[in-house]
Symmetry: C2
Subunit: 264 residues, 2 copies
């Protein structure tokens, strides 16, 4: 069974993209087959994976609004066998508004991903993980991701504002569960950019442990410059500096997620 | 003449809120009268200023969707004379979709702010600066801010992804200029979380200097833990640690903006 994980948090700059890109690479290194879908019009995940983002070449926009298939839009990622990705082009910025008046506006991604997963399973080449990189909002692009996914991974920056949005995100997941996707659970909360020397980071960790003890991952991603340098080379940190603390952290996240399997 | 500045960037986590809150405090310390409007449903600026965010008490949502006046919704900020703020409650999260089908959906904030500014001017108590904290998206809340403003300040994190979104933001400002607000200019680009020891930060600075030499502010805000600690006390950094490098940086930003006046 394919695990389809939406990496979501409406707070901006909490390492959603950094988590999708490096977790995908870590899972691929551990032998999994992974599909990344870039749902963010900024297209940061697409550029971090070195993908072509020419407007017009099929990407997430064409899948959501133009009825193209995921197999048309997905491309391989150089240097990372086992990893496929659907890029985001700037056209995607219009999708939030364009989808408002369309039929089945919340379920378009789910249909497209399900068709693709079935095709791959029938061909004997199943996908193990799908990772969806969400934009920093709770609009129709994130809703599509939460409807397509069966679990949500929430990256949480270890800073003060991080906790403010968590309640709102959790109630959005509840609402999606009730009306659109009964399978959806918050399966993991990942502390990112963790700097134990600050006063705040351990406080945020403690606060999250009290409210979401089962979801909080043991693995924590420390603040590390190598993580923010890798995308400027179009590489994941696994390729850029495999021995770095960032690479090891995302390998630990991959192993822990693999072992925990989604909570049933 | 009041300067109305939208602090905007669709990239998340680049210090939009940190800039609005601390620049407002710095301007107030320098003797200006400032109105802050929190346009972000996350309400981070509201909580950083220690404002009450009870759902139902009038805030930005009631001004945009419920036709309340800014003078009804604005409250003073304790500890900072000269500073007023309109808080954001979680109702605001629905405004993006709710406004889509309303009449004059892009100009609601402008009308409300103009009425308030005229009232204050007639009462002999004019507002010097209005600062609008935008969410990390280019939806109707940010569009309302760009229509109400006469200038845009773009906080730019000194990291790789920062440059990717700049072109898209500049073309959105152009589009608003052509169709909705001919007065609008990008008046300032502010480098935030600048860490000169990294390889990337100076490269980003150089790249911006080439494309936007006139807009790039001399003042730069370095990465500093005191800036991220202040909001957990409901204070600006000017109150929390007035001698800190973060407080001095935002005072320098305030002085430079005041001197440059918006480009005509
Ligand atoms: N552990 C880390 N250490 C240092 N820098 C990091 C780390 N994780 C992410 N970053 C950097 O922080 C910035 C924000 O991360 P990223 O863009 O992945 O967040 P995001 O949540 O995807 O943002 P958005 O809300 O805009 O989509 C980036 O410049 C990234 O390189
Ligand atoms: N100069 C700085 N030094 C250290 N930390 C900073 C600095 N500026 C901002 N921060 C911290 O970085 C995080 C992101 O900043 P902030 O929330 O202001 O960005 P934003 O652009 O408003 O985010 P969003 O896109 O979610 O609205 C916050 O935790 C903030 O405290
Ligand atoms: Mg991102
Ligand atoms: Mg903000």
């Amino acid at each position: 069974r394919t695990r389809c994980i939406a990496v979501a948090n409406q707070k901006g700059g909490v390492a959603k993209t950094t988590t999708v890109v490096n977790l995908a690479a870590a899972l691929a290194v551990l032998g999994c087959t992974v599909l990344v879908v870039d749902m963010d019009p900024q297209g940061n995940a697409s550029s971090a994976l070195g993908l072509d983002r020419e407007p017009g070449s099929p990407g997430t926009y064409e899948v959501l609004v133009g009825n193209r298939s995921v197999s048309d839009a997905a491309t391989t990622v150089s240097g990372l066998p086992g990893l496929l990705a659907v890029p985001a082009t700037v056209d995607l910025a219009g999708a939030d508004i364009e989808l408002v008046s369309q039929v089945a506006r919340e379920t378009r991604l789910r249909k497209a991903v399900e068709t693709f997963l079935n095709q791959r399973a029938e061909a004997g080449n199943p996908i193990d993980f799908v990772l969806l990189d969400c934009p920093p909002s709770l609009g129709l692009l994130t809703v599509n991701a939460l409807v397509a996914a069966n679990e949500v991974l929430i990256p949480l920056q270890s800073e003060y504002y991080a906790l403010e949005g968590l309640g709102h995100l959790a109630s959005t997941v509840d609402m999606i569960q009730q009306h659109l996707n009964p399978n959806l659970v918050i399966s993991a909360i990942l502390l990112t950019m963790f700097d134990g020397r600050t006063r705040i980071a351990p406080q945020v960790a403690e606060e999250v442990r009290q409210h979401f003890p089962a979801e909080l991952l043991e693995a924590v991603v420390p603040r590390s410059v190598r993580l923010s340098e890798a995308p400027s080379y179009g590489q994941t940190v696994l390729q850029y500096d495999p021995g770095s603390v960032g690479a090891r952290a995302y390998l630990a996240v991959a192993r822990e997620l693999d072992q925990r399997d989604r909570r049933l």
